[in-house]
Amino acid sequence: MEVKKMKREKGYTRKNFLKGIVIENPLFVSILGTCPALATTKSIEAAIGMGLLFTIVLICSNMLVSLLRKLIPEEIRTPAYIVIIATFVTIVKMFTNAFLSELYSTLGVFISLIVVNCIVLGRAEAYASKNNVFDSLIDALGMGLGYMLALITMAFFRELLGLGGFTFGKIFQFIPLTTLQIIPKGYEIKMFQTPAGAFIVFGLILAVLAFIKNRKAELKANIEKREKIRKAQEAKEAALKAAVNNGGNK
């Protein structure tokens, strides 16, 4: 009990939530769940829908796995998780079919493919099986939101460049149909709506992230180098002063 309390530092929940969005972003950092990320990001609405369904499945499976973590024997953990995840996906699929049929037909087979999404199984195995229900819930929320934001980022570029603007209300039909044309008709690049465009957008986003990371590492290295030089100089000066002082004493 002591050890557990020691481990829990202040602001752990916040950190736990934020890590899924930035530091351990499932799509852009861990490169997991790439299949739906490329397939369902033709429009921002589809991306939001996919992200929502994914988050719901992740939250449910993480919480149930965490609840059952002491009941499931060590040896059959993976089979149990797969069955749990598949059950939740089936439930979510049926709800989508009943209440958001437009979203259901847009995402198609990719709703079922949440079962084999590496993130859900990965979070169950790496986090929920070792932590309590509340922490698992926060972890799932963070990861799901991080994934959804990543999907929206990709969809933003693909819809903006491919169709020249954003359309809302097509998939979520309770929103009035609104179109926001930014690039005039005839100047959009249709290619970004095709599979090739998905690969390009994903590749470029990863390249930009790598660039930022490299730049940060470079800056850090530079600062460290300068610090080192400064310290060496200071030591030299101190030695010189000491020598002068010694000379004066003689």
């Binding site: 861990s30 490169i31 997991l32 040896e75 059959i76 993976t78 089979p79 069955v83 590496c118 199984l121 990965g122 195995e125 790496a126």
Partner: protein, 65 residues
């Protein structure tokens, strides 16, 4: 045959599948790695990208951390 009978059969087939899965999973884990394959270790050279939990490249990587 009545609908209930069909459902019972289907559910029992699903359960049989589940049992097959669990048994084969446990057996797979318990079977020793064949000779000459013990030294397959994680390496950045061979893969990157998918950090799959089931993959023992990934598991080795996690252990090394």
């Amino acid at each position: 045959m009545s609908q209930t009978g069909y459902i019972i059969i289907a559910v029992s087939i699903l359960l049989a599948l589940l049992v097959t899965f669990i048994v084969s999973f446990v057996l797979y884990r318990r079977t020793p790695v064949p000779k000459g394959c013990e030294d397959i270790k994680a390496s950045e050279e061979k893969c990157s990208g998918c950090s799959h939990v089931e993959c023992h490249f990934y598991q080795d990587k996690e252990e090394n951390k």
